[in-house]
Amino acid sequence: MTDAVRIDDASYETQRTAQERRKLLAPWILMLPALVIVLVFFGIPTVYMVRMSFNLHMDQRLYVPGFTFEHYVNLFSNPLFTNAILTTIKLALVASLATVVIGYAFALLVWLKPARWRLLFIGLALAPLLISEIAIIFGWWMFFPKNGLLSYGLLSAGLIHEKISLMYTEFAAFVGLVYVTLPYCFFILLSIFDGIDKRLLEASADLGASPLKTFREVMLPLTWTGILVAFSQSFIWTMGTYATPSALGPDTLWTMGFLIQEQMLGKHNWPMASALAVVLVIGVAAVMVVTRSMQSERTSFHV
């Protein structure tokens, strides 16, 4: 081949810088479509919304351009809104807790069952994700009330003698909410379980630990971060959902999502609705930041 090596430093440099520029640019080119969607179709409307939350609301108009903190002041002084914030957090907390418990048991069950059941269970867990929220509400609507399937079934079976109703109770709202968030929780936890060596259980049993003790001493510590992540995911999710609790729950279950909808559409008060949305989104972002930091801890723990 070549007898002497010739290194053309200038051409090497240009090639190298071109290569490095390509390397620096590549991630941004890949991210471009997603960033366009987020920045343009989320960023701009968000800026509009933030701006909207400072507008005035008067004269029967949806909004009047102006600048006021009135809506934020109202948001944190009017008991209706402060209570709604508390209700939303409380509802999200309890529902996420229930979701995590059920989701954990479900994921554990699927993990322990032989593989041939697995696909079936996963299909089952996907169902609530795949069905429209309207259809889910509608389904529970026909199940809980006096002329619903539950009451009819129990009556036909002779277990009760008068029609019963669980409709429009906090219980019904929880049942609906958990139904909607369960799949997210389930899949997060299942992926955590899948990372655990099943032989650990045998090892623990071999060492004489009862199943309960094995659970407490082995399973719980191993899945703890997964539980936290699943919990915060459900929490974020339930914060924003409003249709299900409002359709199934009692009259006084006023959540932030419900009030946003009501202010925006029913009361034609866009600035107030925007202020509520801004606060909701900030809350969600805060939870996400915490979740994110927990997730990175988890990965570093695993590696």
Binding site: M1, T2, D3, A4, V5, R6, I7, Y12, Q15, R16, Q19, E20
Partner: protein, 349 residues
């Protein structure tokens, strides 16, 4: 630089944070040469290989392949081919598709690809496996496909990244011989990374022993084995016993300051030093008496290794082991004489 140089590393540096993984490494690989990078984990051998392959960025120095600078090129524009530890076959492609992959990327015409697939599979003795998926192959077969895949593109240099370490012993030996045979036949240029000195000795034209990111010694396997230039190389290649001693005017003491029955043929300078001997080169009892270096030690315990017995011995604070074919007629607790030749001993300060 000569005509036959295939790969040249010049003062190559690679850092990970504050750790210097590759520290000023320079290396020439001639065409057709099989150079092994040998070293413990963390010695920088894999990093060096990945720098050549283009999977890591250089922090200093340069890399030349066939006289052209390549260190700025991405992996896919370098004429190198790596055989990965796990084989790294494409699981969704058949054996034939795996082998064809690199050729397709180089836009080789279709009929030429077909020809080369069959050639390459022939070479690694996997004819008839074309339609199988990697999941249907054994570990050894996977590695052979990986080899065929890399050979098919006829790279300027083949890079082996501990390709046998995931296999069991007998398979490892078998494949090792196979690679050796292929190299003899095809005369490809290769860098081979391993921590297994057996592999290094058996296959290499030259062995580069790496430690802490730098090449300690590079030479023919025999030279590296027989004439290690550093304490690290000596201890890393082959088995050795270390006798840490202090030489005083009165004689030789162990670390605790107790005199030990060590009699050396050559006089050592006073002060602390470490004397190394290999268990296979030690002679016991009667054989020992004729040799210039002798030590009286007590048998601590005895291991049976099949062909040999290994005697673990203690003399004061010194510990060493000696191999002997057959029994010597002494048991645990007995004091015996050990001896060795001058050329079988190394002293490092």
């Amino acid at each position: 630089m000569t005509v036959s140089t295939a790969l040249e590393l010049r003062n190559v540096i690679r850092r990970f944070g504050t750790v210097v993984a590759v520290n000023d490494v320079s290396l020439n690989v001639s065409k057709g040469e099989f150079v092994t990078l040998l070293g413990p984990s963390g010695s920088g051998k894999t990093s060096t290989l990945r720098l050549v392959g283009g999977f890591e960025n250089l922090d200093g120095g340069s890399i030349l392949l066939n006289g052209q600078r390549i260190d700025h090129l991405p992996a896919y524009r370098r004429d190198t081919a790596t055989i990965f530890q796990s084989g790294a076959l494409f699981p969704h492609k058949t054996v034939a598709e795996n082998v064809a992959y690199g050729l397709r990327m180089r836009n080789v015409p279709k009929d030429a690809i077909m020809k080369r697939i069959s050639e390459s599979l022939d070479i690694v003795r996997l004819k008839g496996f074309e339609a199988r998926y990697p999941a249907q192959l054994s570990g050894g077969q996977k590695q052979r496909v990986a080899l065929a895949r890399s050979l098919a593109v006829r790279p300027a240099i083949l890079l082996f990244d501990e390709p046998l370490s995931a296999l069991d012993l007998s398979l490892r030996l078998q494949l090792r011989a196979e690679i050796k045979r292929l190299h003899d036949e095809l005369k490809f240029t290769a860098i081979y990374v391993t921590h297994d000195q057996g592999e290094a000795m058996a296959m290499s034209s030259r062995v580069a022993v790496m430690n802490a990111g730098a090449i300690e010694q590079i030479d023919k396997p025999e030279t590296v084995f027989h004439s290690p230039t550093s304490e690290f190389v000596y201890t890393f290649i082959g088995e050795s016993c270390c006798l840490p001693v202090r030489v005083t005017s009165a004689g030789i003491e162990d670390k605790k300051g107790q005199a030990v029955g060590l009699r050396l043929g050559e006089r050592l300078a006073e002060g602390e030093c470490r004397i190394y001997v290999r268990p296979s080169r030690l002679r016991l009892i009667s054989e020992a008496a004729l040799l210039p270096n002798q030590l009286t030690a007590r048998i601590h315990f005895i291991e049976f290794l099949g062909d040999l017995y290994r005697y673990h011995l203690k003399a004061g604070a010194l510990e060493l082991a000696a191999d002997h074919a057959g029994s010597i007629g002494h048991g645990v607790g007995d004091e015996i004489e050990i001896g060795w030749r001058n050329e079988d001993m190394r002293v490092f300060r």
